[in-house]
Symmetry: C2
Subunit: 127 residues, 2 copies
DNA sequence: TATCATAATGCAACTCAGTTGCAAAAATAA
DNA sequence: TTATTTTTGCAACTGAGTTGCATTATGATA
């Protein structure tokens, strides 16, 4: 288990644990699994994001969340199927594919998000 | 001017032209510049997206749009300042930084979006 | 030109993810 | 215990984006 999860508040910890165990989840998933108010979910997600314990994946309609542990879950691209709206975690970029952020000297970079869109295998079969 | 802009419907064309001239804009910008209903803006944006005339850049709160012409505006990463919420277009990735999408054989890829977050130079000075 | 069919627009109501103010409950300090 | 601070639930709200429907504009056809 990720070291970062120590010293979290109770609900923060529960959310972080659920994300560690289940991969990628949205706010509604978490609300159902935790049986708490959605305001509580969003407030805790915000503080976890600020603490850099979790990462946010934006889509057209809602956000998804995953644990941010470099060892267990290194930064990686995501695939969003435009048909079924499912989010897939892709394998991390290989060294030669890694984006060189050092040109962007005008910005103090804190995170990077790569979203690839298209049609997943399941949906390709069906249609 | 981009070849793609021919054969567009009237409002589609106006939007595409505004995006060509002004770079990145959101739906509200376009509504004000065109003096039309927001429903009209969104409907036309949707059809332009489907025709791949424009690209969408998602942020926490709203979407931005830019023209999709490989010659005049090749695909490039975007920077979102977490302070002022401004979106900056970054220079396209160099050849050695280009992501190799050919591993992802389970997916039929149609687009890729790279969003880098952090603090822009303006905001760094101010705070 | 007049008549009909189709597409685009305006408007208003709606949806839904996410936020916020506030009072109650829970945790923590004294 | 009592006082103070933090967290939660609830309900109302916000704002981007959508949708149904009547009206208007466009375009074809005779
Ligand atoms: Mn992931
Ligand atoms: Mn751009
Ligand atoms: Zn799919
Ligand atoms: Zn800024």
């Amino acid at each position: 288990m990720c070291e970062k999860l120590k010293n979290l508040k109770k609900t923060e910890y529960k959310i972080a644990l659920l994300l560690s165990e289940n991969g990628i989840l949205n706010a509604n998933d978490l609300q159902n699994m935790l049986n708490v108010d959605k305001a509580t979910v969003y407030r805790n997600l915000k503080s976890l994001l600020k603490k850099k314990i979790i990462r946010e994946i934006l889509t057209d309609e809602k956000s998804f969340y995953e644990i941010d542990c470099n060892i267990h879950n290194p930064i990686h691209p995501h695939f969003e199927c435009v048909k079924c709206k499912k989010i897939y975690c892709l394998k991390p970029l290989s060294a030669q594919d890694t984006i060189n952020l050092s040109h962007y000297t005008d910005f103090e970079i804190s995170s990077i998000e790569i979203i690839i869109k298209g049609i997943c295998n399941e949906c390709k079969k069906q249609f």
